[in-house]
């Protein structure tokens, strides 16, 4: 009790210094949490992927498409329960700043394969019966204020012209990590329009971007992938099939350097505040050398002196981290609102909070190691001579 009282009162002794140190820790912990959340957001596509889904793309590159006729052949394979397809549209909504992914999909099968996109049955029917209809995610609807019945003009960058779509359905995610910033419309609409524009150009119509394959047993993912690719070996468009997670991680690996840089910066932030905190504790311990010597003269042990310093360091680190963790949530929400749909899934994870807490523990203990050791080792006579 007296031990805690002494620690608490020592902590509040230099209010400005303690306050500034706590402020520094708050900033560091918020920055660390935010950077970790950005990294998590980068991996959210892979994290949100299904174990029972495979993705088949052109073996050469994603830029090259696959014939629509592959769909029926893939579906006949043992273990495949459903096959759908999606094609990247890459359009612009009003300005380039308003980025969100748009896909031309197979309306009949897509939402069976992607069952995590929850659509009210009435809205789904409205979408399937309107060839110019589109389905948008809840986040997209919220960010741009879109609602059912609205017309959304998208300027094509790959497919020229301004394409107008009617919002027929808004989907929600089955889980928090489900991406609700996407825009889906009928592949038939895209394909037929292309046919009209580029008449008799078989090479640019009846092709799709990727196939998404639902399988019944995740343990057979590798086997089925091999069977799909074998099916189209030596064809005009050979395929490469992999799990959805591997497919998504392929995208992340393209920007790996950025992710690594963000990770490094997040650790550097912690190192900087660790140095600041260690300096604070060193100053504090140096100022109290005479007091610690007095306590030792009275019969208090070295461990007691070390405990006072560790305790003070831990309290400062704990307060800074607690406030920092609490502030991470609104700061992350503000950041997410600012970047719009750039990060489809942006939320502070439990793992990030654990890491913030571990960082606090690290700061609290490490900052006190040297001051505590030195204070415990200073001979009493020498300590009594020092001027605090």
């Amino acid at each position: 009790m007296h031990f805690l009282k002494l620690i608490l009162r020592n902590t509040l002794r230099h209010k400005l210094r303690t306050g500034l140190t706590i402020l520094g820790i708050i900033v560091a912990i918020v920055a660390f949490g935010l950077l970790r959340t950005v990294v998590d957001a980068w991996y959210s596509g892979a994290e949100g992927s299904s174990e029972t889904r495979l993705v088949t793309r052109n073996a050469i590159s994603l830029v090259f498409h696959l014939p629509i006729k592959y769909q029926d052949r893939i579906k006949k394979l043992r273990g495949v329960t459903e096959v759908t397809h999606a094609s990247w549209f890459g359009g612009v909504y009003i300005t380039e700043k308003n980025f969100f992914p748009q896909f031309a999909i197979d309306a009949k099968t897509y939402f069976d394969v992607y069952s995590e996109y929850i659509i009210p049955p009435k809205e789904l029917t409205a979408f399937t019966t309107d060839r110019k209809g589109c389905v948008i995610g809840r986040k997209l609807a919220d960010v741009y204020g879109l609602k059912i019945g609205d017309t959304v003009p998208i300027r094509g960058t790959i497919y020229p012209g301004t394409w107008k779509f009617n919002v027929r359905a808004i989907y929600d995610g089955a889980e928090a990590k489900t991406d609700t910033s996407q825009f889906f419309f009928h592949w038939d609409y895209l394909n037929e329009s292309r046919k009209r524009v580029i008449a008799r150009s078989a090479r640019t119509t009846d092709w799709v971007g990727v196939y998404a394959i639902n399988i019944s047993e995740p343990s057979r993912a590798s086997e089925i992938s091999g069977e799909v690719d074998k099916l189209f070996k030596n064809s005009l468009a050979e395929t490469r099939t992999e799990t959805e997670k591997a497919f998504q991680l392929g995208f992340v690996s393209m920007t790996e350097a950025i992710v690594v840089a963000i990770r490094i910066v997040s650790y550097v932030v912690i190192l900087i505040i660790l140095a600041v905190m260690a300096n604070t504790m060193a100053m504090t311990a140096r100022e109290r050398t005479s007091e610690y010597a007095t306590l030792k003269a009275l019969g208090f042990s070295h461990h007691f002196i070390s405990g006072l310093i560790y305790g003070e360091s831990m309290i400062i680190a704990f307060l800074g981290t607690l406030i920092g963790i609490l502030l991470t949530f609104p700061v992350a929400a503000m950041f997410s609102a600012k970047v719009g749909t750039l990060f489809p899934v942006f939320g502070v994870s439990l793992e990030t909070i654990y890491m913030q807490a571990i960082a606090a523990l690290l700061i609290g203990i490490t900052a006190a190691v040297i001051p505590a050791f030195r204070s415990a080792q200073v001979p009493i006579v020498e300590g009594l001579r020092s001027i605090g």
Partner: protein, 230 residues
Amino acid sequence: MENSSEPIVHIKHLTKSYHRGEQTVPVLTDITFDIPTGEFIALMGPSGSGKSTLLNLIAGIDKPDSGTLKVGGTDIALLSEGELADWRAANIGFIFQFYNLMPVLTAFENVELPLLLTPLSFKERQERVELALAMVGLSDRMEHYPSELSGGQQQRVAIARAFISDPVILVADEPTGDLDRTAAEEILAILDRLNKEMEKTIIMVTHDPHAAKTAHLIRHLEKGELDVEN
């Protein structure tokens, strides 16, 4: 601890030197003397004569280079750091020139500090602290922090802290050195009472001949060597 027929402090051929880089500075040279139990002794001498070093050695906060140093029959030079800490807590009360109170603790809490190392309950500690502060005339200042007390009052708190755990010896290093004449007189009067009424052995280092007169025995140190004077 002590046997009244034996001296409370027995020192024989004690030497102590400090090292400054490669240089060795002798501070105490072949000191031999005894302090009887219940004595009030003043150690005097010019700066650098080694009187504070001798006091520190007797109090167990420094170690001699050679010689015998028995306090209450215990050869404290042979004790480990941990044993010495326990020994000091049980046997020595410290009074410093600049009081050395914990600024974040009240007068009550400062006096209570040595009792935290004993198995006494809070109620027992409370009774003892209140009694000790009453003895030094600070019953009405128990909840005051050191910064709210005068120098003389702070030294009285320090004296209460020194005798609260009922040690055998009180060591006082220039206890009036930072006080005005009136406050110094009050402190010396309290020390005299502790010696006479509570039979505490008091070893006091002082520059002040007037303060030294309160003691029953005065010893002079000169360049690390002890001289005898009445």
